[in-house]
């Protein structure tokens, strides 16, 4: 399947948004990052807006978007609700911060929960038995990816705001995030290696005789050495670089900016590449049509 850029943008920014909220909430629970909160909130808001806008690009009749709340089992409906929930959180944070108050721990916990649920919902939208490449592992990936993206975002913001305590925590987060991301990638790889496609042997679709019919013997092969290899290996390499940056930056708190810049770039790259890979691998179970 072709890469669906609007959806890549949407999921990327949803992960970023949730990651930022998650990181903020944890810092808050740790009692850190007070001066980062507003910037983070704005970043998360902008990120959500970009993601939402991206999603709209995918809709052919966005003017009918309110129909989209119509069906609770649908991933999209859940995502929509999630977006609304995130919006409510944003407003709540905004109100609290505008009042100059501390973010209550309860709000932080709720925020964390909403972020995770939103990530699950996003992953769930793609949980389609029709596309073996898009299983539960995708949810794992989105959660992991949010960790990494949130971590590097927070790292950036803490350096911007020169908050060394948060910077330290963020580097810690980035370290964890990249490990988690790599782990999720491994999980995903294992999941793909277990997929099966219907095999019809030789077949021909009269309407597309000039293209060779698709046969998927092994998703793993496509990932590791086939059409998906470029995305796959680059994406892993990026995540590894993020990890290396985090490790290296650990002792350089206060002067971790160059590492942060690299980490941000590779984290985003890794995230995008892996998403493109999802689509590349997103073959339907039955490939005859």
């Amino acid at each position: 399947m072709e890469a669906q850029w609007p959806l890549i943008i949407f999921t990327l920014f949803v992960c970023l948004t949730c990651g930022i909220f998650g990181a903020m909430s944890i810092l808050t629970l740790k009692g850190q990052g007070r001066q980062l909160q507003f910037t983070s909130l704005i970043s998360a808001t902008v990120s959500l807006a970009i993601g939402g806008f991206g999603a709209f690009l995918h809709l052919e009749h966005w003017e009918r978007i309110f129909n989209g709340f119509g069906h609770i089992t649908s991933g999209i409906t859940q995502e929509l609700i999630g977006c609304v929930a995130l919006a409510v959180i944003i407003v709540a944070w905004f109100v609290v911060l505008r009042g100059g108050k501390e973010i209550p721990k309860a709000l932080a916990w709720i925020t964390l929960a909403v972020a995770v649920l939103m990530l699950v919902a996003t992953g769930h939208s793609y949980l389609m038995p029709a596309r073996p490449a898009w299983g539960i592992a995708l949810i794992v990936f989105y959660v992991a990816n949010a960790c990494l993206l949130g971590a590097v975002a927070m790292w950036l913001i803490s350096i911007m705001k020169k908050d060394e305590a948060s910077e330290g925590s963020s580097i810690q987060f980035a370290l964890v995030g990249s490990v988690v991301q790599l782990a999720a990638m491994a999980v995903y790889t294992i999941a793909c290696s277990m997929t099966k496609f219907a095999d019809f042997g030789f077949y021909a679709d009269p309407t597309s005789m000039t293209t060779a019919p698709t046969h998927v013997d092994s998703l793993l092969a496509i990932m590791v050495s086939g059409d998906g290899a470029l995305m796959f290996w680059c994406s892993i390499a990026c995540a590894v670089v993020a990890l290396v940056c985090a490790i290296a930056a650990k002792k350089k708190v206060g002067a971790s900016k160059p590492y942060m810049i690299i980490a941000v770039i590779v984290a985003i790259a890794s995230s995008i590449l892996f998403r493109v890979l999802f689509y590349q691998l997103g073959f339907a179970m039955v490939l005859l049509y």
């Binding site: 030789f202 009269p206 597309s208 005789m209 000039t210 060779a212």
Partner: protein, 983 residues
Amino acid sequence: EDTYSVVSGNDTVEVKSCCRGCGKMECGVKVIVQNGRAIRIEGDEGAFQSMGNCCTKSQSSVQAAYHPDRLHYPMKRTNPKGEEPGWQRISWDEAMQTIVDNFLEIKAKHGGEAIACQVGTSRIWCMHSESILKNMLETPNNVEAWQICKGPRHFATTMVSQFAMSWMETITRPRVYVQWGGASELSNYDDSCRTTVDVASRADIHISCDPRMANMGKEADYWQHLRPGTDGALALAWTNVIIEKKLYDDLYVKKWTNAPFLVCEDIEPSGFPTVRTDGSYWDVQTILLKESDIVEGGSPYKFLVYDNNWEKLKDEGVEHQYGAFTWFNADQEGNIDDTGGFWEGENYDSEKAREGREASQDHLLPGQTQGWLPDPMPFDPAIDPALEGEFEIELKDGKTVKVKPVWEYYKARAAEYDLATAEEITGIPASEIEAAATAYGDRLDPSSGYGNGGIQYMLAVEHGCNAIQNCRAFDNLVGITGNMDTPGGNRGPTIVPIDGDLQGFSAWAPGASTPPAEVNEKQIGAKKFPLLSWWQYWCDSHSLWTAVLTNDPYPVRALWNESGNFMSQSNSTTAWEALLSLDFFVDLNLWHTPQNDTADIILPVAHWIELNSPRASQGSAGAMGATVKCVQPPAEAKYDPEIVMDLAKRMNWQWTSEPGNEWPDINWQLDDSIKLLTDDELTYTTWHVENGVPTFERHGVPMDEVTPKYKTWDEYVAAFQEHGWWQAKDIEPRNWGTYRRYQTGAMRARDRVWARLDYTAGKGIGDWKPGWFTPTMKQEIWSTVMETHHPENRDWWLPSWVEPPHGPKDGDRIKEYPLTATTGRRIPVYFHSEHRQLPWCRELWPVPRVEINPKTAAEYGIEQGDWVWIETEWGKIREVADLYYGVKEDVINLEHTWWYPEVKDAGHGWQFSQVNQLIDHDAQDPHSGTSNLRAYQVKIYKATPDNSPYGNPVPCDSNGTPIIHTSDDPRLKEWLPTYEGRE
């Protein structure tokens, strides 16, 4: 001429009609007309012959009729030939006058023979070129698709049994269904897809003889996967099995074939005058033993046989004139005496010959008439003509010689194809050949008294340069197994009083007939193919194009083409060059086509939903109906016959001999076409023969006295809408409704309009004598026509087979050209070159395909979807690889007649993929001149940017724009219907 909407006073109607999306089948369809516009076409369930079938082409006809690229006006070219023509609209008057002027000028300069006509397949209303134009223009030169399609079967069967006995009554559901070199589930060839699938599914045994796994063939119980072009060898191998296992119908063989006739190697050939298709005479010259060979003054028509029973009969008081020998008299025209058609001392009675029972085939459709099945009549007196042995007889010069029955020769010929040899030739394991032949020959129900069914031998058997001989092998095989004119057997053309098919609509014009002998003598190709002068229907297309290019034997400078296509036969490149070099060429068509890019004038014609025509099934389905005009043709388009009549009038050529009605209009023609449908009893003759003395009685109302059932065409159409398709068995109970017509006399009963097509067009016509229409009045295993025309080539006197000329056994060619190509498997959405511009069709089949075994493909580095070059020393083309395990590793299957309407260059890109560029212009069947369209060696290689023009493996026009090769090409949408510019 009004549309049915106008006639019926209803703007929104479902019109029952006869489809001509292809013309290979007369499918009953319903054209749904809404507010005067045809919006859809569906199957007519009431049509028993087609079972409600309505294929892709028929359904897409609405896209053809309302296509934006239809021709609407006469046009003339403004650019030189070979370039984009620069068509300019002109008036009908100007167009027709230009045609007349040019024809007259060329005729004055070079004679009528310098004008050739061309006609395609099955556009029945375009067959004037065969039936009228030749006469009108005084030319014997007529290029017909018939030469490569069905014509050879008709030619061969006319030689040895009866015109078109190749047609099989599939719809009565044979127990064993043999599809040989045909796949009517896709081609709807004479039987619709629905019927084919139903028959094959319900048959006890289904046999497919095909080098490819065919679409219905996939379900066959026996798949005889022969090497392309080896059909004759396989047919003779089957014959051998059937003879060896004595599975043949002994009585039929002895009584109705010339198998017991005696061959005498020691006599000079001699014979008698007999009539050919056009009514002129030729002399049979045969070494079959006749009375005239053994006694001075004996009849040359009396063929001798040895009677195994003569002694017993003698004891019973029946004595033969020549002792152990008795005779059959083939003096069908009563030149010497009136016992023609009967055996020495025979007792026969026409009414007795009809005694029998209602046929009882299983699985007929509700309401389908079974037909009357006369019991086979034994010999009376009970002679037993010998099939085997060698006998001595004294000739009239006193010499005693040895003679052997034809059967012995036939047996020996078949024995040349013993199982081991057949396996080697065809590539089918011997055991499988034996099993299939036995399954066919061994009667599943011996009590039925007839065989398991006919053989549906179809197109492929005509394309490997064994066309005539292959068909003879089949005709004989069907005969000896007792499947001639029996239920589910080979029955020949439907007989009904209303017919538009066989001769084309305008053959009803009383003025029409074949050109006189002195014109026919000049026919191009008849020297090279002597039998063409006997057959007299087509000139050899190869020789014609060569003559255009070389003026040899004489100049041919003008062409009238009404539905023909130069790509269909002979080498296309040669034909194209010939077209470009003509002085004057007029083309009647619905479209711009490759061929009419070379025309001087093009004339727009009507589509089948825009015209009226009488129709009957051409094959053995036995249906009668009509094509009904549903909408008016667009702008200035006209119905083909109208144009020909206009030409006749302008050339001062009389159409009818009725004073004051020399140039009748279409309405008159239509009214005239239904006049023979009547409730009166149609004429027939009964014979009573006692001890060899015949008397006869004529019955029924003579043709010119019958009261027509419907006075006008419109009345007929109204009745058709009400009643639906008529069954010929009901309308013609004595003829089509009765089987074994060689026994009842009805086989020779064509005493009506079709006379012209019958073998015996002379005095014998419609004589209702038992027997066949051959010089010997028997189904000829030994062909006296062949013997006479090819006295030097004994091999051909019996069915025979040779390797196709450019097949794997053609010297060393196989080294350079390792794969055997077959071509022409039908594409469900196209009719030959037609329909490439219909969106519903093209999107389903955007590109031509070459089917290739996956193993072979791998060897060549070819994958599914790759463009592939296919090459011979005569040309090269590109088609798209389709990995198909259903062909052998050394065989490929190519599609034919591709061109690309989206390409605007002269020729519309026919050069890219059209398969008949690959063939040798000189490789032909030695008798019918039929092109070598299948079973020749080719080489292939993957098309790459490096070896393709414009660096593109996809064919491109002169601007480098690729052809439409995917179904999502936006150009397809530009071809959707438009309703402008019609009225």
